[in-house]
Structures are given as C-alpha cells and as structure tokens.
Amino acid sequence: MSQPKIIDDKWGKEAMMPTVEFYHAAIRRLVAEKFAASGKTWEEAVVDPSLELTRADFENIEQQLLATGYLFETSAQISYIEEPNKYKPVQGVGDSGTQGKDAQGRLIVGTGDNVFAAKDLEGTARFVGTVDVVMDMLINGVPEGTIAIIDDSGGTLTAPILEGFAGVVCMGGTIRSHLGILTREYGIPCLMASELDGLVEGDRILVEYSKGAANAYAERDDAARALIVKIS
C-alpha cells in the first residue's frame, strides 16, 4: 500500500518559505491522520469524498498560523483593507539621511532601470499607490508634470490614468513587467526596479531618463542605473 508523502520522501526537504512550509506540513499531517483513521488503502481513501479535507480544515490551519501572532505580507491593497488584522501595512519610502549627491550637489533620492532612452525630465513626484488616489486623478485629471511614483509593476492599478503621467518611477518589477511594457507602448519615460531614499510627496525631481535602456539579461550594474535627483 502506497502512502501519502509525510516522512518517507527520500529526497524531499522543507519548503523555502515559512508560510508555505507551515501550510503544506499541516495539510500533510491532517491528510495522514484521516488516512490512518480510515483503515482504507490509499487508493480507496483518495477517492472517498467523506475523507476529503473541507473548507473548515483549511480555515483551521490558517488560524493555527495566525494564533502565533504572524502577520502576512500585503500585496494587493484590498487584502489589507478587508482584513487589517491579518496583514502587515504597506511600508512607505524611508529616509536614511545618508543619500549621496550629484555633481551639482543635489540630493540623489533614488536610482532605477530605464525602460527606454528618452529625454531627462523634471517634474513633481506624486505617489500613486491606492485606488482612492487613482479615482481622484480619474475624476479630476492628472496634474500636469506629474512623475508618478508607483509601488506596483502591474498594469491595472493605474490603467485609466497612465496616459496622463509625464513620467513614471516604479519601485518594483523589471523592464519587462507589465508596467514597463505599457509605458514603452505609450512612450512615457519610465524607470523600473527603482530604489528610493528620502523622496516625499510633492518633491520636484529630475529623472535621468536619457540613460540607455537597461539590459534585461545583464547582472545589475549600478553605474548603468538612472538617477533621480531632488531639485526642491
């Protein structure tokens, strides 16, 4: 009689991520307990609906993890809004106070990978990270000269207003992310995988969009990354 893989997997190992390991191990234990108690062969048990795990079983497993005080990383805004007690709040841009300066003595508040070479652009940094901000810009229009600071490499959050941005600085993804693809199609200058330090809402910034397009297949090269400089 073959067994479900609980402890007798010759080459198995723990999952890399703690949440995955917790859930999968808990599910394996529960399946093994039900199987052992059934007195059936595996082939009989696996097709027996009465032995299937239920929604309540999965809810219980999640509760076991939450009971340890664990909070989940947030990805989609809606997840934190609906269940703030389960998720960590999204962190904003930090300020190390140790930023470097460019040749003209201006504070360098970030760098990023350029999607395509364009002209350097001066504009106003505006954080566009929530449905409420997008809705406001959809109704009232995107302020002229906005360089959108976006913590989302996807193409859906900013879908109805993307065309209105003068430039984009994205704190994630790669130049092949959906947002990178879309900004290239629209011809909107864009930095992806940006790392920001000390940038705040309303800052006047100069973005080095004239830098050559990043090589998606190359290792990271800091010298090849475009600078984001705070003007005022």
């Binding site: 190992k13 991520m17 599910i27 082939e43």
Partner: protein, 524 residues
C-alpha cells in the same frame, strides 16, 4: 489491475511532462514575477490550478468527443482566437500545477488520476501539434522561439493588403496609439495577466519581417465582468499584421511574447493591416482596410472606445471585494481552454466561469503572502519538497536536482497502486455577478445556445476547400491544381488586392500587384 498505459505511451507522456516543466521554468524565470496592488494575483493563480486539475479531464473529454483536439488546432490556425500559442502552451501547465500543489500537500500521490493524466496530456499534445503544424513543432520554443503558424496563402493576403505608413503620418500615429490602449485594456480585462495578447511570427517579408499581433476577448463575451461596460466594442478579436524594417524578432516565445533586435521601435513600422476573426468566421475578415485614412479613423475610434471601456471597467473592478477579484483572476487563468469548447460547439458558461467546491475550499489559505511564496517556489525556485529529485540529478536550466512537474511513476504499468480519475466535475460557484448579455461573434450577438448551434454547423471557406490536407508541402508541387487554386481563392475571398488570384503567386507577384495598385512593395 495495471493502468491503461503501455510502456511506450508512458515514456512519451513523461517526456511531454518534462518538456512542459522545462519550458515553463524558462518562461517564468525570464519573463517577470506578476504583481499588482489592485488584484491579489498570485493567490488567484494558485487557486486556478486546482480548478484545472479537477475540471479539465471531464471538460476536455467533452470537447474532444464533439471535435477532436487536433482538428480544433487545425481550424484555429485559420483565425485568431483564444486557441492560440499562449493559451495552448499553458493548458497542461496549469493542470500539472494543480497536481504538483496537491502532491506537495500530501493530498494525492504521483500515481493518482492516471487515466485523467493520460487523456489530458494526449489532448494537449494533439491540439498543439495541430495548431503548430505549419512548422511541424509542438511549441514555439522547439523552433528557437519562432511562431510560424500561418501558411503562405494567409501571409500573402496579409502582405498584399497591408497599408503603408511612416512615422508621423495619420495611420502610423493611429496604430501606435491603438496598440498602447489595447494593451492597457487587455491587461485590465484579464485581471493583470497577458492572456488577452498573443503574437505569431516572425514571418519573412523579403528583407523585412512581419509580426502578427492579436488582441483576444475584447468585447461582451465569456467574461461576465465585461457585460455592459464593453457594449460599444464591436469586435471580440482583432489582429494586426505589422511589417517592420530594420527589425529582427529574435524571440516569439511560448507565451506569444516577442523581443527584437534592435529593440522594437514603432518608427520601423512600414505597413499594417486590421482584421477580425473567430470560430465562426470565414478566415480573417478585413476591418476598415479600404485605405490608410479609413483604417486610421477606425483605429482612433476603436482606441477611444477601449479607453472608455478601460475607465468604466476599472471603476467596476475597484469596487469589487477581494473574493470577487480572486474569482475573476482565477477564472481568467482556468479558462485558457474555453475557446476549444467554442470551436467544438459545446461551450457552457457554468463549465468555464465557475470555481467548483473542491477549489473553493482552499480559499482560506490563499492570503497574499502564501500565494506569492507558493507560486514563487512552484514555478521559480522549484523548492517544494515534492519537486526534489535524487541528488545526482541536474535540471535542464538550473543544474539543481529538481523538476517543476513530477513524472508519472512507471509502477502504474503493473499492480493496482494507482487511481484513475478525480471523478466528475462538481457544482461550482462564483462571487461575481452572472452573465447577462449575449456573446459577441462575427455572426452577430448570439446567445450561448446560438453560439453552439452555429459552431456545430459552421465550416469556414478554407476548411471546406481542404486546408486540412493541402498543406504547404503539398502546395509546393501542386500549386497549379484546381484544389490548390480553390484553397487559395477561399483564403483570398475578402482580400483587397488578391481576391480570385489563386495559388500561383510568388512574392515578386505580390510586389507587382501592390505597385499596380499604387502602393509600395514591402520587402525592402
């Protein structure tokens, strides 16, 4: 009792599993991690895999009984629909993803669902072989990432009828604007995934290259969330053959995505066409291709319609609950096989737009962090326990002792330690509002029953003229025959410049026909 597998069949299926495993790893690691602050993307991807595991066996059998998989692949080459490179390349991937997750959780063994596995693997191989018949491969990656889908007769029409353009002119500007808006809209209506966009090619046009760009499921149709807000979108599928100079498309991959050297630049676009098509169309139907100005006006109109639809759809989606976002995204993924049912005339909304109870039960663990990490381990890092092999093993790409999808143990060839099936599909549900509007087709807005009835009796002109048996290797020696001429004329039926010209045309003839019509040849 042993399974229904012969040794040779199981060898072939395990090779298909391994090929799928290797190419999915390459695609997932060389594209990008999907992310969205609007949609919980990875939780819905993970959930969709379970629905594929539980539902595909019965639904693909239902399709195959009505129209064999390889015949659907044949028919799909004549048009642009959801039966395309990206969709066909991932049906078995999502199914195997569900299996791998369940194996890793100890809920099934590698020896479970063996009859289902045998059928799904065979079906997905046959439909891909049919679709990719033109280059005799099964996936674009086999062809060094080229998507040579169309035969000469289709490409001749695309080339001959393409309308010239250059940077700054009315048509060029309209095309560039349209492509941006259509791409944006496609990502939104597909809940952040790229399944609404597909490309085939490159096709050689003298010294230049043609890329055939498809936008799929644009109008009121299978996705219920498009009802109402997309009522003004006239065509469900649009295809733009784009001819480029000074550009080599070095990659058109298994997800229908392209890369070019030098980088794609709209300024290199020299000609373009616009077509619609679907499972009910007589091949590709030109859309406003009488002249460049007419096409530019229509593209601008279509762009404005899609921009409005984007805004309205975004407002609708931004008001959804997390559960609704999860359901919609999971259904987009799970339903990559839905257009097969349309071709076969057996499409049912409840088959393809519901998550069944065995899937729904897993929702409590689908928080953002688990979804992100589980998908990353499954298709990126290959670090789940069930994916680890003996320590001497080296993965094709990573050199690590692992594989994304587990093979079927050969023990199923003897003895009775295996199970046959996940059983019949069970009742499903969705938190989304039900579909209320008709389906947009090239034969008008139809009900579900009308769609299926029309599909069951429809045979397109090229199919009726023998597209299945008269392939390019036969045409090469028989182009002067009545059969060849009938087939080419059927494909040329709606062509602006080639109608009735038949099978004997060379590329030089295409140039001459364009020059005679006052249009520049496109071969460079």
């Amino acid at each position: 009792m042993a399974s229904n597998y012969t040794y040779a069949e199981l060898l072939a299926d395990n090779a298909w599993i391994r090929k799928s495993s290797d190419i999915f790893y390459w695609q997932c690691t060389t594209r990008t991690v999907q992310e969205s602050k609007l949609f919980p993307v990875n939780p819905y991807i993970a959930l969709s895999y379970y629905n594929c595991w539980y539902r595909y066996p019965e639904l693909l059998r239902k399709i195959d009984a009505a129209m064999p998989a390889e015949e659907i692949g044949d028919r799909a080459r004549e048009v642009s629909t959801g039966v395309n490179t990206i969709m066909l390349g991932i049906i078995q991937q999502f199914y195997l993803g569900g299996r791998q997750f369940l194996m890793d959780m100890g809920m099934i063994n590698a020896t479970d669902g063996i009859d289902d596995m045998k059928f799904v693997l065979d079906f997905t191989r046959r439909v891909n072989l049919g679709y990719h018949r033109q280059n005799s491969y099964i996936l674009n990656s086999d062809d060094n990432n080229k998507g040579q889908i169309h035969p000469e007769r289709t490409l001749q029409v695309f080339e001959a009828d393409a309308l010239g353009c250059k940077p700054g002119d009315k048509l060029h500007n309209a095309v560039v604007r349209f492509l941006a808006t259509a791409s944006q809209y496609a990502f939104l209506k597909n809940c952040e995934c790229r399944l609404g966009i597909n490309n085939s090619g490159p096709y050689k046009v003298g010294n230049n290259e043609m890329l055939v760009r498809d936008f799929i499921d644009l109008a009121e149709g299978d996705y219920p969330w498009l009802d109402g807000v997309t009522a003004d979108i006239e065509y469900n599928n649009l295809t733009l053959p784009v001819i480029m100079k000074d550009t080599h498309f070095n990659i058109v991959d298994d997800w229908g995505s392209f890369e070019a050297t030098p980088s794609y630049d709209h300024d290199n676009m020299i000609a373009v066409g616009l077509y619609t098509s679907d499972y009910l169309s007589n091949g590709y139907l030109p859309v406003h291709m009488n002249n460049a100005s007419d096409l530019a006006d229509y593209l601008d109109h279509s762009r404005e319609t899609m921009a409005t639809a984007t805004s309205e759809l975004w407002k609708r989606i931004s008001g959804w609950s997390r559960d609704q976002m999860i359901d919609a995204g999971a259904l987009v993924y799970y339903a990559v096989a839905k257009d097969l049912a349309h071709f076969a005339g057996v499409y049912e909304q409840n088959d393809w737009m519901q998550l069944e109870e065995r899937t729904q039960r897993l929702k409590p663990i689908m928080n953002d962090e688990y979804g992100n990490h589980a998908i990353a381990e499954l298709v990126g890092y290959i670090t789940l326990s069930s994916q680890q092999n003996n320590p001497y093993n080296m993965n094709k790409w990573s050199d690590q002792p692992n594989d994304m999808w587990s093979a079927i143990p050969y023990s199923v060839l003897e003895g009775n330690e295996w199970t046959a099936s996940v059983g019949p599909i069970r009742s499903g549900s969705t938190s989304l509002p039900p579909k209320t509007q008709k389906y947009t087709t090239t034969q008008g807005k139809l009900t579900q029953d009308e769609c299926n009835a029309a599909a069951r009796k429809f045979v397109s002109g090229p199919v009726a003229a023998g597209s299945k048996i008269y392939d390019d290797s036969w045409i090469k020696y028989n182009y002067a025959s009545p059969e060849a001429n009938n087939l080419y004329k059927a494909t040329q039926e709606n062509s602006r410049l080639l109608k009735g010209k038949g099978a004997g045309l060379s590329r030089a003839d295409i140039d001459a026909i364009r020059i005679a019509a006052g249009e520049a040849p496109l071969g460079g």
